[in-house]
Amino acid sequence: MITREDQIRQVLAELDGHIAAVEASIAVLTTLSAGGEALEDEGPR
């Protein structure tokens, strides 16, 4: 049985993920708007 606290933890985890996604996008946009370049994905060198 799913308890209320389980439900809250689930929503909290999803919320955490969405906040992290916004923060990551904002970091890239801020870097770009400040004149920097976004980091490219690291691939084999």
Binding site: V11, H18, E23, S25, L32, S33, E37, A38
Partner: protein
């Protein structure tokens, strides 16, 4: 139950009153906690005014002040969260996530950043990618609002039959 859903006003007053502190004492405790961690905060009289405004809900405290509150009331949160049926660490985590959510820019600010990024020539990202990134950020921002509303509903309305086997 409302206390945890309104961290910026009623909760702050309840936390203070739970210690039997008046507002000037609360201001002294905030300054003391800030001093321990080497942070700068407003002067005593300024803090007294700010605390009154926070507790009336006229203004929301900035993140550093929220974290100072958490630091001060970490021990007593156990009692408060017990009354709400939540574990202490959980109550603190909840407050921290809500604080992070409150610090996010709104969609207008994201659009401004997008326009600023588009105004400069890029080697690593195309304009389409920048637009997609901003759109994705705004989509996640809407999800944050949805999840906050869902969370508030869960915290405000105990499930039917809660506490029954």
């Amino acid at each position: 139950m409302r206390a945890l859903t309104d961290v910026t006003s009623e909760t702050l007053r309840r936390w203070r009153e739970s210690q039997g502190w008046d507002v000037p004492r609360m201001a002294r405790e905030l300054r003391k906690a800030a001093k321990v961690s080497g942070e700068d905060v407003a002067a005593h009289h300024g803090l007294v005014k700010m605390i009154s405004q926070w507790e009336r809900g006229n203004r929301a405290p900035r993140e550093r002040y929220r974290l100072l509150y958490l630091k001060i009331f970490k021990d007593s949160l156990g009692d408060l969260s017990h009354g709400m049926g939540l574990a202490t660490d959980f109550a603190i985590r909840l407050a921290e996530v809500r604080s992070r959510a409150a610090g996010l820019p709104d969609s207008g600010e994201i659009r401004t950043l997008e326009a600023s990024a588009l105004a400069r020539p890029r080697k690593t990202m195309t304009p389409a990618e920048i637009r997609a990134l901003a759109a994705e950020a705004i989509a996640h921002l809407h999800k944050v609002a949805d999840k906050l509303a869902e969370l508030s509903a869960l915290l405000a309305d105990p499930e039917p039959g809660e506490g029954k086997p």
